[in-house]
Symmetry: C2
Subunit: 254 residues, 2 copies
Amino acid sequence: MSAGSLAIVGLGPGPHELMTFEADAAIRSASDLVGYGPYLDRLPALPEQKRHASDNRVEIDRARQALDLALGGARVAVVSGGDPGVFAMAAAVFEAVERGDPRWRDLDIEIHPGVSAMLAVAARLGAPLGHDFAVISLSDNLKPWDAIARRLTAAAQADFVMALYNPASKARPHLIHDVFKLLRGLKAPETIVAFARAVNRPDERIELTTLGAADPSVADMSTLVLIGSSATRRVTRGNGGFWVYSPRSYGDMR
Amino acid sequence: MSAGSLAIVGLGPGPHELMTFEADAAIRSASDLVGYGPYLDRLPALPEQKRHASDNRVEIDRARQALDLALGGARVAVVSGGDPGVFAMAAAVFEAVERGDPRWRDLDIEIHPGVSAMLAVAARLGAPLGHDFAVISLSDNLKPWDAIARRLTAAAQADFVMALYNPASKARPHLIHDVFKLLRGLKAPETIVAFARAVNRPDERIELTTLGAADPSVADMSTLVLIGSSATRRVTRGNGGFWVYSPRSYGDMR
């Protein structure tokens, strides 16, 4: 049997138009698609293409399944929403490779990047990531609070804009409240905060607020939370709405 | 004259295949393209489409030009390499809007995100951004060293992976050396470092090394520098090469 291949593909934030041409081609040329069910459901059904849908909580098992299919000769595409390299399938695949079947190391593995959620959210708001920023995932049940708090504190003290992925967890419903409590002790109440849910999808909802006024309980599993730096600011639009941006210069840095 | 519009468009890292369908459509439907000359040169010439090429060092002037063209009724696309929201044209446009002609606030401004350089570099290497990371630009001549050092120190002490944009500056040739000197005092010599130049372009060159062994002078204006966390690791490929990834869990965090 000829050697298979594994493509790790970023679908972007949702609609097909925000996928790259390369990602689209990688998916079309695959014999087997592996991924979380709702991501596979975004893709058009192609004849003779097999689908292997799985639950979102078993990334490492999904990675192993994809690697085994490729080893068996399949042209496999494993898909992620957003970019596969940011808190997504690419790291899971390499964790599996490092610990698993030595033959997986011989496979042809390619990664096709995508527009990550933070970039899609930033594009909706204006340019909040126009200056230095830190990207932190709150999702993993294995993460000790001390480690999360240490990174949030460092990011706040050095005045980074922050993009917080996966802010809600069924296992830890109080986590996002603890995060806001910590940040309120470190940053000014007028700091700009945005809760951006399902950006670019039909159920998109963006709430622009401040650190002092924010209600963290609006953050669910589909929400990305943006926390401004001291320089992040709003510009009033002619229609009464706002753009949010972070100036490119350090001049305004606290 | 009918109202014009302004699209701020991310071209991705280089080849057309890494652009999104939406970005491609926004460029094709524009009457006027504004951007740094080499970015405009990547795009196919369309009849009746005007091009306004400019020098890279005048982003704010380019933003004002694009806004004025839109105010005059043009369908303007201003282009950035990578994603326009990450150290690029989107922030320049909103800086111009905030300080400029009040009528600019009434314009229809849309941002079309793209695959940023850090995501393209990560896809080439494996999954180095698979865990929390900080994104820092070293380019701006206005940046005081103290501010840069403060952010690098915070990112190192909280063990973020780091993506450093614009590491080389003609005005400050010693900056990248100062950055490495600082990081060597804060992080282990075996920390993984990658210099990724012109990724996805014909002159791509990636050097994978360690903090202790790195020669920072290889970084030029087209290079993105990745600095691993303490958990970032290499996996040997069957062909003798390496993948680089950062595990998803905090388990290995220092």
